[in-house]
């Protein structure tokens, strides 16, 4: 449906002189008149006073809308060859379109629009109506399509033209559901991007809603609906952030609590460590002080006393440590009977063997609490194993295992293996220990106490003597076989010796006869 367009073209380039203006207007008119269908057009000059002279500055004319494209093309070409600043005005029905330019390209879009028909009434009116409808519900409803169809007929548009314009109005997403889904997906993607950004380094926070709002506008999706979709995603995202923050806070609280607990535990541990360290230092000082003597020198006692005060060690603890060190360095003096073996240890340390033997007799009798009564085979069994072990260990330590009960047990065992007869066994045992000599008709062989060998040259197991078993501690003492047997038996119970390894019998070895005994050599 063609319509008339009022056109106005005016040169506004300030550089043009009146005569140049007149020339340009002349050529413009000629150029336009030269176009097909324009020869009959009436071109009215626009007159203005320039330099006190009435000058033509432009033209006015009315042309058919069908001619607008060719008019614009001609005007574009003119600007291309001569870019003079020009004012173009096109009055199309109730709309004025003005362009003021000296650039040919600025007319290109207008040409394209004119070609598409959008400039002119039927297409323009129809499209505006279709877009208005599509905005209300996000799609063209059947009723709206009916209305548009009536409009199409009134505007004499073809069905194909109307369909194209409808498609343009609703855009690529035809139905409301498609638009809804597309918006929902885009919003989800937008929040996914935010999540991804949150997971990495921090970013400046930005509100995605304005662009989504713009998308809703572009899609013609109702804003209230778009906002509901946005709110749904935003709420989910926000909940996630809150959860993460809460978890982080909880973790921090747990960590803080753990740190505080660890700190307290460390402080306690440090105290314990420090106390332990002080005890160890005291122990080390004791060892140092008692390395060369059973009792620390007065100087060392001063040091130990000062150290005890400085390290806050109680007297009891200090005594315990000192005793432990003394026992470690010089042998223990434990007693089940409450007997003090310190003097025995002192004497043995000094290698005062005879005095040590006499002290042994004294402590054993004290242990047995015999109170001047003779020791019997029964009372021997009351000697505590702890005390026997202490006495043995002290003798053994200071004689380099030469003396002590264990040495005596070993001698007894070796005699047991040699002698079959009990009496001979005990005789040989005492002889091996150096307590007797072989007897003769006039001499029973008992060594008097003062003739015993109180030195390290004495036979194995020579000391301590068993004089304490005798009814009196006389110089000429005699051991009863019963008591001796009871002592050995009690020792074997309290301090059993390691079993004797059975020698492997070599069947090829020759056999020899010794005192009626057959032994493997």
């Amino acid at each position: 449906m063609a319509q008339n367009i009022a056109c106005l073209i005016k040169f506004v380039d300030p550089q043009l002189k009146p005569d140049e203006l007149d020339t340009e207007v002349h050529y413009l008119t000629e150029d336009l008149r030269d176009l097909d269908g324009m020869s009959q057009i009436r071109f009215d000059p626009i007159l203005e006073i320039r330099d006190a002279v009435e000058t033509r500055v432009g033209i006015r004319f009315i042309a058919h809308s069908d001619l607008l494209v060719s008019i614009l093309r001609r005007l574009r070409d003119r600007l291309y060859y001569k870019p003079l600043e020009t004012w173009f005005l096109f009055h199309i029905s109730d709309l004025n379109l003005q362009i003021r330019t000296d650039q040919a390209e600025d007319l290109v879009d207008l040409m394209a629009t004119a070609q598409s028909g959008l400039l002119f009434s039927p297409v323009r009116d129809y499209l505006a109506e279709a877009e208005t409808y599509s905005r209300t519900q996000g799609e063209l409803s059947p009723t709206e399509l009916d209305n548009l169809n009536l409009l199409r007929q009134r505007l004499s548009l073809s069905a194909e033209q109307a369909e194209l314009l409808n498609a343009r109005a609703v855009g690529p997403y035809k139905t409301h559901a498609e638009k809804h889904r597309y918006f929902d997906e885009t919003t989800a993607a937008e929040f996914s991007r935010l999540r991804h950004m949150d997971a990495d380094h921090p970013f400046a926070p930005k509100d995605p809603w304005p662009v989504l709002q713009e998308l809703a506008e572009n899609l013609a999706l109702p804003i209230s609906e778009a906002e509901a979709i946005y709110q749904k995603h935003w709420q989910r995202y926000n909940d996630e952030i809150k959860l993460k923050t809460d978890q982080q806070s909880a973790k921090t609280a747990v960590d803080d609590s753990f740190v505080a607990e660890t700190k307290a535990a460390d402080a306690h541990q440090n105290q314990v460590e420090q106390a332990r360290e002080h005890l160890e230092q005291y122990l080390s000082l004791c060892r140092q002080a008692m390395a060369n003597s059973l009792y620390p020198s007065e100087f060392d006692q001063g040091r130990l006393d000062q150290a005890r005060r400085l390290w806050d060690i109680s007297l009891d603890e200090a005594l315990t440590i000192e005793t432990a060190v003394r026992n470690e360095l010089y042998g223990g003096v434990e007693s089940a009977a409450g007997v003090d073996y310190n003097r025995l240890r002192d004497l043995l340390l000094q290698q005062a063997w005879q005095e040590a033997d006499m002290e042994t007799e004294a402590v054993i009798l004290k242990t047995l609490d015999r109170d001047m009564q003779p020791v019997t085979a029964t009372t021997v069994q009351r000697l505590p194993a702890v005390d026997l072990a202490t006495i043995d260990a002290l003798w053994s330590r200071y004689s380099n295992k030469r003396f002590g009960f264990r040495a005596q047990q070993q001698v007894h065992r070796s005699q047991q293996q040699i002698q079959q007869d009990d009496r001979q066994q005990w005789l040989a045992f005492q002889q091996a220990l150096g307590w007797r000599e072989p007897s003769s008709l006039f001499y029973q062989g008992y060594q008097p106490y003062h003739d015993l060998n109180f030195s390290l040259e004495a036979p194995l197991g020579h000391l301590p003597t068993w004089r304490w078993c005798c009814p009196s501690l006389s110089d000429r003492y005699r051991l009863s076989l019963d008591v001796m047997a009871a002592v050995i038996h009690h020792l074997s119970l309290c301090m059993p010796l390691d079993p004797v390894p059975t020698p492997a019998v070599d069947p090829t070895a020759p056999t020899v006869l010794t005192g009626g005994q057959t032994r493997a050599v």
Binding site: V108, A128, P202, E217, N218, G302, Q306, L310
Partner: protein, 362 residues
């Protein structure tokens, strides 16, 4: 970075009531309502408006009629400039406004490059033609590029929503996908993603080793860099604040470290004082323990009449040294407090001096 609005990336809309018979106050209220509602649209909060006074309204006459309620002027219209990306939103908003007011109004839409469309109407559906025509007249490449650059300047990259919008624009203005991709790449610049821009900008900011390095001059250079790499101003500012925070934290750490060192030194001094004090107490105890009978005449001097401090010291120390036990205690205490001989001597002298002064009273 939000670009300044210029004629290349924005449009100007002038709206003026043509209702001569209407009450100027009603027209004025309508204009103000429109202005207020446009500023409520997102990203248009800062829109500046110029108002067109109503020529029908006489301030003088109004002042005579209502002397206490003189208004400077009443508006018949307004003019505003907004980004091209908001053309659709604004025109549709104005369309809604027109539907409510239904007043005959003149609309003048100026769009790049140099088009001006003028329309007079009182109907929203006729006004809709302004949008159709306006969008049709916009140069498609320029329009698309402006939109893409707008998104990049706001978000630093093309977000999913921005891409969705651009996809619709691409179809509406009739660009091919290849053309659109090319324009997207141009808009994005050398760094495709915001994360890359952050990484690069953060690296650049690392040259500032202290807060004072990040002064106005340096920041102007960095802002220019941000613009050239398409990093939005909000992000650049965020990264600046982040760097400043880090620098402040580093400075705070350095300060704390210096404080800790000073505290450690003070602690060392305190411990030394404690050691001296501890030794002093121990020495006092030792002297007292070694003198169970108190200060005797022999300590003061042979004649007793003219006490001699040096002699007093010598005698007390001789008493102490006379006992192996005391010597042991002294040795252990000196070892424990880890004092050098001069320090120990000084402490001992102080104690003995005090004791000497007190000896007169004893």
């Amino acid at each position: 970075m939000v670009k300044e609005l210029d004629s290349g990336n924005s449009f100007r809309l002038s709206i003026k009531s043509l209702e001569d018979d209407s009450d100027p106050r009603v027209v004025h209220a309508g204009v103000q309502a429109l202005c207020s509602s446009i500023t409520q649209l997102s990203q248009l909060e800062q829109t500046k408006f110029a108002f067109l006074p109503n020529p029908q309204y006489s301030v003088l006459a109004e002042a005579i009629a209502h002397p206490r309620a003189v208004e400077p002027s009443l508006y018949a219209g307004l003019q505003c400039r907004a980004p091209l990306s908001k053309l659709r939103v604004v025109l549709r908003h104005v369309g809604n406004w027109l539907e409510r007011t239904a007043q005959k109004t003149l609309f003048v839409l100026e769009i790049p490059p140099s088009h001006t469309i003028t329309l007079q109407t009182s109907q929203a559906k006729i006004l809709a033609q302004l949008l159709t025509l306006g969008e049709a007249l916009l140069p498609p490449h320029e329009f698309y590029r402006t939109q893409a650059e707008g998104y990049v300047s706001t978000f630093g990259e093309l977000t999913p929503a921005a891409n969705a919008n651009l996809s619709l624009v691409q179809q509406r203005v009739g660009l091919s996908i290849e053309e659109a991709n090319e324009l997207n790449a141009t808009a994005k610049g050398p760094f495709k993603a915001l994360a890359e821009k952050y990484q690069h900008f953060r690296k650049e900011l690392l040259v500032c080793k202290q807060a004072s390095d990040l002064d106005e001059n340096f920041w102007n250079v960095m802002r220019a860099k941000a613009i050239s790499m398409g990093l939005p101003e909000a992000d650049a500012q965020f990264l600046k604040d982040e760097r400043l925070n880090a620098l402040h934290q580093e400075a705070e750490q350095t300060r704390q470290q210096a404080e800790a060192e000073a505290a450690a030194e003070a602690q060392r001094q305190h411990e030394r004082q404690q050691r001296l004090l501890g030794y002093r107490h121990q020495f006092e105890e030792m002297v007292i323990d070694s003198l169970p009978q108190g200060v005797a005449r022999k300590h003061i001097g042979p004649d007793g009449d003219q006490p001699d401090a040096a002699l007093f010291h010598q005698n007390v120390m001789a008493d102490l040294a006379g006992s192996d036990f005391n010597r042991g205690r002294l040795t252990q205490a000196r070892e424990y407090y880890n004092l050098d001989p001069q320090e120990a001597k000084a402490v001992e002298k102080t104690v003995l001096d005090e004791l000497y002064l007190l000896s007169d009273l004893l």
